[in-house]
Symmetry: C2
Subunit: 197 residues, 2 copies
């Protein structure tokens, strides 16, 4: 595919992703995407030979990227308590801004179930995400198994907080879930550390 | 409505709920429900005058009840650490058993968005659920604001753990999320309590 072709394909994927965040995957047809991108049917099938299914896989991959990008640069370096706090603030801001039209919600509610390929994209996202959280937690906790437990509970906290934001419109669940779930990574205050020596 | 009428209506609601857990709300038509319950079109419209929308609201209400019932009797009396542990085990067993065909997943992924009425049912479920968690947490923590924070993070943990179970097929997220989120409610061990006196 030429550079121009890739750019057009990406333009279609982004437009489809925004439509799906807005209306849901079930309600978004190829015709909606054509209308939103001013492309022809033959152009769409040129970029997505198997039609809708192909397009939804491409959108899932794009949304998975968005989920991770929104957490950078913090996610790549969660080696200090300060960076966990910065990460937590970035996550909270990201979802507060997007409300119930977010890439993560799109992926887990419908997009990720649209085909085995889309499901694989979603599972891979959670694996990458979890691995980054485990790496950071392990640096602070010095215990791999405990780090895995904490990372998984942090991942569930974000996920649950986002769903509750979507359902109730309140960001408080995500805020409290983030605060509580990263708390065990906070190093003991110096005075306490000395006291326990 | 007669007792017999109510029973028939309930039979239809339960059958529809199971179909929706299995195939999703978008894929479940009134014809599917008719076929599964051996009812006629006129019978369905007798019980649900506005058709599909009405039926989905009734299914949402039924599923919300199922979500709470699965947590009883523990949810009604979370006043001891022991009862929090029993509750946590019950939740884990319930979702491990149901896997990705659970009432909570049905509600938050599609059902709860099917109409303003269904959304109100879902929001009411989370309010009732949260209130029960807050009551229990407050007994143990003796601090209402902290109890609210903990309750909200526990609610998000369950929600996120269930979504991750649905997406990845692994129950470990829910397990770790439950363990980590209720941990702050565990009373200090007697020895520690004495030491801090």
């Amino acid at each position: 595919m030429t550079a121009k072709g890739l750019a057009t394909r990406q333009r279609i994927v982004i437009a489809a992703a925004l439509l799906i965040r807005e209306k849901g995957a079930a309600e978004t047809t190829l015709d909606d995407v054509r209308a939103a991108t001013s492309t022809s049917k033959s152009q769409l099938f040129h970029y997505f030979p198997n039609g809708r299914t192909d397009m939804l896989v491409a959108v899932a991959a794009y949304e998975a990227e968005q989920v991770l990008d929104a957490q950078q640069p913090h996610l790549a370096d969660l080696t200090t308590w300060r960076s966990w706090q910065a990460w937590s603030r970035a996550v909270l801001n990201h979802y507060t801004e997007l409300g119930n039209r977010c890439p993560l919600g799109s992926l887990t509610s419908e997009l990720g179930k649209s085909s085995p390929e889309a499901e694989a994209v979603t599972v891979a996202l959670f694996e990458t995400w979890e691995a980054a959280l485990v790496r950071g937690a392990e640096t602070l906790l010095k215990d791999r198994n405990l780090a895995i437990t904490r990372a998984r509970s942090i991942l569930a906290a974000v996920q649950g907080g986002v769903i509750l934001l979507q359902v109730t419109g309140q960001v408080g669940y995500l805020k409290d879930a983030l605060t509580s779930s990263i708390e065990p990574l906070r190093p003991a205050a110096p005075s306490q550390r000395q006291a326990s020596r």
